[in-house]
Symmetry: C2
Subunit: 253 residues, 2 copies
């Protein structure tokens, strides 16, 4: 049912990666399927969509597409974490979002991607030819509404992030980030009290609009003040959530 293909490594910034990505069963909660069900698309039609999909795997740090590439493919994440970002010509990076299991990637306003996408962890995705989906959406208007809903949600989130980037202090940004990661972890079950943080400090900084050193310093400070416990660089236990919220929303001091 699925063909499998691994995208070749880009020439730049090669990580040392040889592990195999474990295969996983088709995710019944995937966003495309969700939109399809919501739009009342018949199992038959959905199969057609899925038959035309390709299975893509990426290793950490590999690029899926780059801002300006022609947007001919739509992706849906099976497993793993991706990031989307924009860059200035001189190399400053702003990560505009992190995406994980079930999220859709590549719905663009033009026929060019307006941002780049890169794997934060090893990732496996479904790839759909964009035309294919468009055909289907034309037949199922309710699915368009669902896609529209997802876009509006994303817009609301990015405006929340604009408030953070434009008006919050470093401490407030980091506290907001921790709470967002914790909420995200809770939504996906788990919830053993420890929040996984798959991204590097550099990525967190580029997401929050601050330097990596500032991310590190804020985390150390929260740890020292007993608000969190740094289990290791990628596992954080949130201890005083109320206080973190107080900081995140600007009621600090």
């Amino acid at each position: 049912m699925f063909s499998t293909e691994t995208i070749k490594q880009l020439p730049t910034a090669e990580p040392r990666q040889k592990k195999e990505i474990a295969p996983c069963a088709p995710c019944s909660a995937c966003a495309i399927r969700h939109a399809a069900q919501y739009g009342g698309i018949s199992e038959d039609d959905f199969s057609k969509l899925v038959t035309n999909s390709t299975n893509v795997t990426l290793h950490r740090n590999q690029t899926l597409f780059t801002e300006g590439d022609p947007a001919k493919q739509l992706y849906s994440i099976r497993h793993g974490t991706m990031m989307v970002y924009k860059m200035t010509p001189d190399g400053r990076r702003q990560i505009t979002g992190f995406l994980s299991d079930g999220d859709i990637l590549g719905l663009e306003s033009n026929d060019e991607y307006v941002r780049s996408a890169e794997a934060v962890t090893d990732v496996s995705l479904y790839r759909y030819p964009l035309r294919n989906l468009e055909n289907l959406l034309q037949r199922y208007p309710a699915a368009v509404q669902r896609i529209c809903e997802i876009t509006r949600q994303e817009l609301a989130e990015s405006q929340e992030q604009m408030l953070l980037l434009g008006r919050k202090t470093a401490r407030e940004r980091v506290a907001s980030f921790l709470l967002k990661m914790e909420r995200h972890a809770n939504e996906r079950g788990g919830g053993d009290g420890v929040t996984p943080i798959p991204m590097t400090r550099q990525m967190i900084g580029d997401y929050l609009g601050i330097a990596t050193e500032t991310v590190s310093r804020s985390l150390t400070e929260f740890d020292r003040d007993g608000l969190i416990s740094l289990v290791n660089a990628h596992q954080i236990r949130l201890i005083d959530i109320a206080e973190l919220e107080s900081i995140a929303f600007g009621r600090d001091q």
Copy 2:
């Protein structure tokens, strides 16, 4: 055809405003009409939508709706400039966008507005009951696609703004802003070489994530360097656009 109503002034921050807003003919380029036409809505149905619309006028600094209000109305700007913004509990403001003639206001992801809207200049708008539009959209799927397209466009712009807020210097932000205002002015004809800036320095600062004094200083600097000419506080002539672009995109120095 249109009932007219003026929203009462809010108790806070009352400007001195007594001028009458000049009435203007229904704008044939208005976004709702555009979506309607694109969606192949019959003139008859469109009349029904328009008959149900109310004409609203706002004076400078008046609030149209506030974050958290139930989102029961959709607005379309006939004439004037509005801003949408979010605030921290302690009063810091991030303006997420400016809207003007023909733009749509109030399409929300939940049933609550996720941001506040306030008039930058005197404004006149059409107001549509949201349910009304939803009914119509259900009958005309292509109109949904058009609305979806508008939302995606807005998302792309807000991600560009995230790059600005997270990674650009004050000079770069102000240069970007001037170019955006100039592009906007050119799109709406005019183009006598002078770009109108209806918003205050405070609003520009809250849009760019910098202090008003920093906005003022950057403008003075650009003026001194001959890149722009400050005709007056709300009229700026862009002289060296190439150099402004060079600054805006981070090729400064």
